[in-house]
């Protein structure tokens, strides 16, 4: 049995926030889960994928976040509780569906987990998705801990069902990837049969329906505000005259900061777990009982604006502080020290934190890197050889974004999933340079296909390189429509990338294995000639992610490579290929050599095709 299906009510487990959300949804009898993976949300869909069959939950790795919301809302409108999870920027992709689903609503509960990533641990931006709740007029809960994440799921479904509206569960990285003690609740039994009632004048959003639903949505929001006013997740602790308003993980930073400042007796803390709709009366009552207030929240001044708004409405004149150079930083995540300093300045209390030590400034960096043997490196290497420095290289989101780093430096522009191919089309019309765009297979399905159709339609002169490693590697090897390696072995892909590309109208399609350097470069020479005729060429550079292939199929590595005495120390292996298995050793006496770290070498043989001094060594079976 999967750990998260333990029937032991009251049992305590050390769960990741994301696992706690899974358990909470199971306790709430969720039956349909759909998601596209994205840090820090991925463990939710991955966990459901592992236990779905056993738990009787339909689990879908959707092609993108918009599709996941559409798919899951169909279940919810048919009376089956559903869940979607996505990283913060995923909600941008899903926003079209999300905004109007708020109008149409649901029948059974639907929870959308939106996982923000303050400090951009693994994201292209930090955006504050609480504003989505405000914009869509939907209810939102913000847990602080794994226990609270689990505990909020059931009420989220109840609110969603009672008001027939999707509910946002808004987390941040430090909730998703925090592991804490979680006490388990009951798991319900019994399946749910979907039931769809035809009701087009409420479910088909033409303007006359939308107008009616808009009014209903605003009415629902008023009623939801009453839920928020009395929500057990919104509470005041302490009775001092110094006010603090906070929500989500910031509640925890505040608690430690207040204690370390020794001001427990002087403060009242309003901790908000339900932050949409804003509980205005609760905030108003709180403001009556404090002399000044500081709003402690990560990212943008969502609560701060609400608090100022309430104070203005009630004519209460008091000092309200929040974001600002002397206050709470707007960029990057908070910690208890940042909060201590801001509270200390605002309430004029000395901060007694231990002095941090300082690390030397000139330490060598250790950025993440493409793995040894990664086929993306071989693709970048060959394309750089043929297209050189002159070309513009729009890229996309996945492991291959790491091609940005030296020595490859094969990434010139990126804004979001799918932007490689569409921006390439734009660049090609205003620049007199070759344009070569990179996109991964999973990202191509997610949002590259429409850009490719656009490029073909408008005769854009670009080369699109689809770096097909057969999986969604960066987020943990999730499947996508084109996968051929499955837990059951190799299979025909459900959707073949090459056929899709041809179906998009591309006439010139080439498939290569990038680990074969000579053939790949020969194919690229031909493509370079073809591009002179104008139009779109596509290169599918196909070689499975070796980490994934070996783990999934149990393939053992048979060979490693070694640098022999024939090495002339040209160091092209380091300065051009940049495989991290290569080591340049220098001793104090000026002696140096290049060698391959055999425990890192993956045996891909790309370096041996570039350098005669590199020779294979068979590994013992």
């Amino acid at each position: 049995m999967h750990e998260l299906l333990s029937p032991e009510k009251g049992g305590k487990r050390l769960l990741l926030g994301n696992e706690a959300i899974i358990r909470g949804a199971l306790e709430a009898n969720v039956r349909f889960v759909a998601a596209y993976p994205g840090t820090p949300s991925s463990e939710i869909i991955d966990g459901f994928a592992r236990l779905g069959h056993e738990a009787g939950v339909e689990v879908e790795y959707s092609v993108n976040e918009k599709v996941s919301v559409e798919s899951a809302c169909a279940a919810a409108i048919s009376g089956v509780r559903s869940l979607c999870s996505m990283k913060h920027v995923g909600l941008n992709v899903a926003a079209d569906a999300f905004m109007t689903l708020a109008y149409v609503g649901v029948k059974a509960g639907m929870v959308i987990v939106t996982a923000d990533d303050p400090s951009l641990h693994s994201s292209q931006n930090e955006q504050d998705n609480r504003f989505y709740a405000k914009m869509a007029h939907v209810p939102m809960l913000e847990p602080a801990t794994p226990q609270e994440a689990k505990d909020m799921v059931q009420p989220a479904y109840e609110i969603s069902e009672r008001f027939r509206i999707p509910c946002l569960l808004r987390t941040t990285t430090r909730v998703n990837h925090c592991r804490g003690v979680v006490e388990l609740g009951d798991l319900p039994s019994g399946s749910v049969q979907g039931d769809f009632q035809r009701d087009p004048f409420n479910l088909v959003v033409v303007p006359m329906v939308g107008r009616k639903l808009r009014l209903q949505l605003l009415e629902k929001e008023k009623q939801l505000q009453e839920v928020s006013e009395s929500s057990p997740f919104n509470r005041v602790e302490g009775s001092g005259r110094w006010g603090i308003v906070t929500s989500g993980v910031s509640v925890l930073h505040v608690r430690d900061a207040v204690r370390e400042l020794g001001i427990q007796d002087k403060v009242s803390v309003l901790s908000l777990g339900m932050t949409s709709p804003i509980p205005e009366r609760l905030i108003g009552d709180f403001l009556q009982n404090v002399d000044r207030v500081m709003v402690v929240e990560e990212l943008d001044p969502y609560l701060e604006e609400a608090v100022r708004n309430v104070a203005q409405k009630m004519g209460r004149s008091l000092t309200i502080a929040g974001k600002g150079p002397a206050g709470i930083p707007q960029a990057f995540e908070l910690d208890s020290l940042k909060v201590q300093k801001a509270l200390g300045r605002f309430f004029d209390v000395p901060v007694q934190a231990p002095a941090p030590l300082s690390a030397p400034q000139d330490l060598p960096a250790r950025p993440p890197n493409l793995c040894p043997g990664c086929p993306h490196r071989a693709t970048f290497y060959s394309i750089k050889k043929i297209f050189g420095e002159d070309a513009v290289y729009p890229t996309d989101i996945g492991c291959y974004t790491l091609g940005l780093l030296p020595p490859l430096q094969m990434a010139d522009f990126l804004i979001c999933m799918g932007s490689s191919v569409s921006t390439a089309g734009g660049f090609s019309r205003v620049l007199d340079r070759p344009v070569v765009a990179f996109i991964g297979d999973s990202t191509f399905f997610h949002s590259g296909m429409t850009g490719l159709v656009n490029a073909v339609t408008h005769d854009r002169n670009i080369l699109l390189v689809i770096m097909d490693n057969g999986t969604t590697a960066m987020t943990g090897h999730q499947p996508h429509p084109g996968v051929s390696i499955t837990p059951g072995g190799r299979k025909e892909p459900k959707v073949d990338v090459e056929q899709v590309v041809r179906g998009c109208g591309v006439q010139r399609v080439t498939v290569v294995n990038p680990l074969n350097v000579k053939k790949t470069q020969a194919a690229l020479e031909e493509i370079k000639e073809d591009l002179k005729e104008g139009g779109v060429s596509v290169l599918i550079s196909r070689s499975p992610c070796p980490l994934f292939e070996r783990r999934a199929l149990g393939i053992k590595q048979r060979v490693v490579f070694q640098v022999t005495d024939a090495c002339d120390l040209c160091r092209d292996c380091l300065s051009q290929l940049g495989c991290p298995a290569f080591v340049w050793e220098r001793d104090g006496a000026g002696g140096q050599c290049v060698r391959i770290n055999e425990t890192l070498c993956n045996g891909c043989a790309v370096c041996a095709q570039l350098c005669d001094a590199v020779k294979p060594k068979k590994l013992e079976a």
Partner: protein, 205 residues
């Protein structure tokens, strides 16, 4: 409230290492042991882009603390699985911090491409010893090899923490945690690695 008093209320342990070293498993082992011991425990991990050979950081707070993030100068204990990363994480430490450092370098690729030089390990340890209250430096890889597998170096480091007695967790809870987290066929080698670390920690406690 004095600084000492604030520290008595809870303990913050900062973990730093390189992707592939088992830093997160070591973190879970401490967390699970704390749970078995009945302590309040919160762990925080960074996934995703941070892996792929980059720095992996995680944290554990036990006792009467609730924020999962260890800020600058807040780590009471640092477990460093690699010496350069120990040095880089100094800003998380304060003058009373205890550090456990595995001395085996993993040279970052940036050094191989000539972007910077790897610092002298002896110099790194001297800096740590000068700045911190206590530094336990040991070749965890050699001890893991002695236990039967170099990959168990993470268990050696956790063993040192246990042997030092910095966290109020009994030996039986540590051992149960190890058995919970690892498949049975890996128990022997990891238990031996943990024990070697434990003895090393106990010797300097």
């Amino acid at each position: 409230m004095s600084m000492e008093k604030a520290r008595d209320a809870g303990l913050r342990i900062f973990f730093t290492g390189v992707g592939g070293q088992g830093t997160l498993l070591a973190t879970r082992m401490v967390g699970e042991a704390a749970l078995i011991q009945g302590l309040n425990v919160i762990m925080s991990e960074i996934h995703g882009m941070a892996q792929r050979g980059g720095v992996v950081e995680s944290s554990i707070v036990v006792g009467d603390l609730v924020s999962p993030v260890i800020a600058e100068g807040q780590a009471d204990v640092m477990l460093a699985f690699e010496p350069l990363e120990a040095l880089r994480a100094l800003e998380k430490c304060h003058a009373h911090t205890t550090a456990v450092v595995s001395t085996v370098p993993i040279v970052p690729f940036t050094v191989a491409t000539g972007q910077g030089r790897y610092p002298d390990v002896q110099g790194v340890l001297e800096t740590l010893q000068k700045d911190l209250a206590q530094v336990v430096a040991l070749d965890a890889v050699a001890l893991a090899r002695q236990a039967g597998n170099v990959r168990a170096a993470n268990m050696v480091v956790v063993g040192v923490l246990a042997g030092l007695g910095k966290v109020p967790i009994e030996r039986s809870a540590w051992e149960e945690s190890l058995r919970r987290l690892l498949p049975a066929k890996l128990h022997g080698v990891n238990e031996r690695a943990f024990a070697l670390g434990f003895d090393a920690g106990r010797a300097v406690a």
